[in-house]
Symmetry: C2
Subunit: 337 residues, 2 copies
Amino acid sequence: MSAHEIHELGDFTLESGQVLPDARLAFATYGELAADRSNGILFPTWFAGTHEANEWLIGPGRPLDTDRYFVIVPSLFGNGLSSSPSTTPPPFDRARFPRVAIRDNVRAQHLLVTGRFGIERLRLVLGASMGAAQTYQWAVSHPDMVERIAPITGSSHTSPHNQVFLEGLRAALTADSAYAGGDYAEPPRAGLRAFSRVYAGWGLSQAFYWRHTYRDLGFAGIEEFLTGVWEPTFGDWDANDLLAMMDTWQHADVGGTPGFGGDTEAALASIKARAMILPSRTDLYFPPEDEEWSAARIAGAELRVVPTLWGHLAGGGADPEAAAFIGSALRELLARP
Amino acid sequence: MSAHEIHELGDFTLESGQVLPDARLAFATYGELAADRSNGILFPTWFAGTHEANEWLIGPGRPLDTDRYFVIVPSLFGNGLSSSPSTTPPPFDRARFPRVAIRDNVRAQHLLVTGRFGIERLRLVLGASMGAAQTYQWAVSHPDMVERIAPITGSSHTSPHNQVFLEGLRAALTADSAYAGGDYAEPPRAGLRAFSRVYAGWGLSQAFYWRHTYRDLGFAGIEEFLTGVWEPTFGDWDANDLLAMMDTWQHADVGGTPGFGGDTEAALASIKARAMILPSRTDLYFPPEDEEWSAARIAGAELRVVPTLWGHLAGGGADPEAAAFIGSALRELLARP
């Protein structure tokens, strides 16, 4: 794994009122911060990912060009690098880890960006999937600090269907009695396997499978693809960490930002950043229609539906054509005044 | 439950070569068989359903008008009424119940239709979901016996994505160690709950949930809908019965019919029945694109995509508008020479 650093948050008061002692925010940086601190880009991670999953867009000559920009990738709470159920001592260990909101992540990231780096304005905040939820939240919480946003294959609030999808994953994982309410001695392997296999149907589109794209990737059949790709994707994660991130995901809604009283539309209307919104045409749990709805409520927002059969995974660079589409959209967004 | 009868099949040799002793085919009939036996309609059941689930289309003045037609509804093997893991004695009880193919169901139904009722031609074979798989198989296995077919929200062969969806359900159910390889003393309740909650995301569309349609149905929120509708839908089924029906579903493919050597397209091209194919526009595991593919390979087939937000469930009469659409398509099909 490429290097990351830790920003110590000390006793960190969460939106719920609970205090997480000795909270830690993991982050990685790429490129050099300009002397005037004007070239910062923030790129939060997604569910069950670390900074490494974002690196496909970062580097010299890449869309997030490290010859020009200073890219900060903060890790989501629960991902095993930032404070997580698996890394936190009692009394907040395991399933006793407190509920962490998307806004808690954003507040920790704000402390990092302003306190550690002295950055007052960000060129761009972007992220895929749960990274998109953090992106929207940044634009709502810090309207004068964020110049541009690019939410990719994600949403401003977790839709009811998306919540049902997550409930299915949670039920599959915890159907394994080895989960033991989070106090497992050994990982709940059957539950993690079920989680992975349920996820496999959602992560890619019907058409991806219809065209046997898994064969192009070197897998003889469905079973080989499930055991070769999907089970390793989640099977080695800590179950409590997965559930903590899912809980953050499930409760995401910019409408909950103080001052908006639960009004998601009003929160979106408050966004001042130039928005380029990039859903995948075939995403089964963040369908493009939902992002049309969000785009229509942000002044000047542009919706570009990524043409791909790779479903949700298109936001992570897995499909070369989608990756190129997203890359050029980001270049164009960054070039705009 | 409305009445059903049993057709004894005796020792029934399956496509696999295994013999199921004392096999039983449950069925219900509606209306009167004409003296010339020319008014028969066959309407096989779907996954985790019995004849009662088909009754919304059957009755005096309804699309399958019992003043004119004699409607036979045979129960799928595994549904608890026809031979099933839960009803079969050792050595074929529980998970030892043999694999049953869609073609085995069709062969048993053919024995019922011809042997018990002396019917040589069927006005219509129709079915929703797994019922559609049986419908297609009837048209391929008995091209000169089936005048019309109406496959609803189903397919001629189980697509790779659909198989992944089923693998997720299977993994969720069996992640519960109480399943015990099928030899449970008590039902694997956590597994059945997980199965139900995973299914909830697939059975209806994203837009159904987005519009909070569950509120119109009297459920305050997602959780109430999951526990009030989805958990009862599958929670009281026998786990081995569910898995047996899923196994039948997963291996469905008209291409496997003897004489076609696995060539699904050739099997479809052999269909002589007038076909009216009715997928739901928002079905997440039998998407309309798949049925477009099948329709294009059957001479004279008509594809009518059901305009609904009720996803897969639209095929079962749950959405009044979809029900009316399907009903009038069936009336039209039956009126054609």
